[in-house]
Symmetry: C2
Subunit: 450 residues, 2 copies
Amino acid sequence: MKKILVLGAGLSTPSLISYLLENSKKSGWHVSVGDISEEVAASRINNHPNGRAFVFDINNEKQKNKEIENADIVISMLPASLHSLVAETCLTFKKNLVTASYVAKDIKALKEKVEEAGILFLNEVGLDPGIDHMSAMQIIDSIKADGGELISFKSSTGGLVAPKFDNNPWNYKFTWNPRNVVIAGQGGAQLIKRGMYKYIPYHKLFSRLLQANIDGFGEFEVYPNRDSLIYRSAYGIDDIPSMFRGTIRRPGFSKTWNTLVQLGVTDDSFVVEDSENLTYREFTNSFLRYDRDRSVEDKFADYIGIDHDSFSMYKVRWLGLFSHEKIGLKNATPAQILQKLLEEKWRLEPDDKDMIVMQHEFEYKLKDKFYRITSSMVVEGRDNVYTAMAITVGFPVAIGCKLILEGKIKDTGVKIPTSSNIYKPILEELANYGIVFKEEKIEIPKPNGK
Amino acid sequence: MKKILVLGAGLSTPSLISYLLENSKKSGWHVSVGDISEEVAASRINNHPNGRAFVFDINNEKQKNKEIENADIVISMLPASLHSLVAETCLTFKKNLVTASYVAKDIKALKEKVEEAGILFLNEVGLDPGIDHMSAMQIIDSIKADGGELISFKSSTGGLVAPKFDNNPWNYKFTWNPRNVVIAGQGGAQLIKRGMYKYIPYHKLFSRLLQANIDGFGEFEVYPNRDSLIYRSAYGIDDIPSMFRGTIRRPGFSKTWNTLVQLGVTDDSFVVEDSENLTYREFTNSFLRYDRDRSVEDKFADYIGIDHDSFSMYKVRWLGLFSHEKIGLKNATPAQILQKLLEEKWRLEPDDKDMIVMQHEFEYKLKDKFYRITSSMVVEGRDNVYTAMAITVGFPVAIGCKLILEGKIKDTGVKIPTSSNIYKPILEELANYGIVFKEEKIEIPKPNGK
């Protein structure tokens, strides 16, 4: 029996662990799942004969050593900051490691030692990062193989609510970590367009949108996501003149979100005085000029520069930012107060299903003609455990693990799934689970500029 | 002879050191001035018989100990971050210390030890902080003594160019550290108005202005400066319902500066790619959408939302943000690039004179009537050495030092000049040097709100 050790059994792991258990008999696997909560770990194993759930404490050095030494391969689904504690022990006992997280500096620093040990640390093999890398590289490699010259690459992802359950005026519900949504973009964004670098500060981010359409799912909008430039070297396209990464929302989301950014209520850097006893209305008013003769609503609309009867005003009212309800949160930052309100209003109900949307757009030149490939993936969740997020993060991790155990991935070192020997078999098997990209290719006129 | 040790001989020290030397004979003082540059230290002493200039290196522990042990009092005019290195040695040898800087945490932490040693660390006794505290406290104490109830306090300061030399369209030149001007306000501002806390994010700061007028000097504008709230406890007015601190500029400055904030070019958090080889026009364009059919000027005006033929556009053009000149600065942040351009355009010429403007506005209730006191100070520089900044920072430090040496300030501990035994004699003597406040008091109608 090959022993698989899964550390962390959080919301992104149900599909991962189910896959491992379902394949455990025919593949001869035993699956141990450790989590800080025994109940959560046990719920994932669900009494499967080839599984074992146990309480795992990352700070228990002795337990960590024993479990990792005893495993054939380790999958870390712990919070990203804890991976390095796992990685060091994997190195000590020469065990392969799989994660769905970005390669942090401390993991990258182990590169040479991991190679010397002849083992593989396969990272960024979830959804984003993960499926984004793999699906993009498949097309990039194929364009290159045909002799094409890539001139533009846009890649965007969004976690949304599935259309059937999309019933609030923001067309958005929290399907993942609310805090990350509230403070998203605060570092601004960087991209390159026709050879020119473009910098977008936070307070302009949500007004620098692109539009997107996905067959059968309608219209979306995309706002720029962090530093797009660093992906050029990872994808081997250092000289590409246009490169953009974005976050997908339904149309209109960003325009109204921007009103909150402009007001200042997404700020996470200071504590609001007496936050516990304020009402949301008083909180909103604390970002507006004193004027005893005008309503908070009127001051807000004028300050932000939107019409008083606009749809954005309706959406802000709907959130409750003008309500007389008490916040009831001690020593809270504006971002924490806003998050509390949003968690009530944007709650994914137990019967709601989530949806992951990913779209790549490639433009390239081939024999004096120009083409655009648009490649789109939509995955809807099965229920509130096997969510689209859990499915799209979990399956690639599980399949990556399987391929390593079967000896079909023979790489060593610290890797991400950008080479065809890794992404090809993973993408092929993902298709069995409905994780597929629809590709559309059209000829386009010669783009302007260089 | 009493031995005074001045550490640091930078731009804010000429008046300070002149004062000490001029009074040295009659008071029986010897003045040692140490600076990293012997030339600078020597220029301040200018061969005065009671003076000594020497090369001082804060990291030379032996020299630091010897000099401080040998002094009767120490004045630190070093960069604020270095004061604690001086303070610890002053504590060791039980020497009084005077600075013009805010009391940093590490100095505050010495409070009890300084009291036990029976010595005084007198901080914040320059201009801002310094004269602002002293002049405000004098009026606050007098209102309280009369039985008045303070209901509003606004305090603002600005370093500007003197009217005669105010000949550029921004009505602004650098009279002090340019970097601080470029990144000013990036933490946002906090204030209280009629009992309601008000929070202003950076991207709104320069559009939340007050107006000011100073007799004989005309109109000014004021933008909010950092956290106004912390001054309530320092001034013993914890319950004041309105408290505002601001930075003074000439009218129109903030509106145009805000266009640069909106564009994103004051950002100091990332490095601009290939900054050395870009032109200023390309730099500006890197914050604007790609559009080969429109000029950078047109894109800028539309993006920021100002008229193409507005005075703000003229001022931005005048700066050179649309020029084809090369930046020539390696690995620079946007803020550093902007600073380089501003240092050329906002340069104080050798014959120019600077000007310090300070204005307090107090509103209070006395026997059912309401009053407003406006107290204004304007100081113009004498030349490019004895600048208004050097005069207003240096004299209060020097006078504070004198009063300690003469035993007229008997306080011990870590203090700022908010009590009358300190501020009264300092303000009295400052008047001899033209540093005076003009006070205007009027009765006002009962203010709205609480």
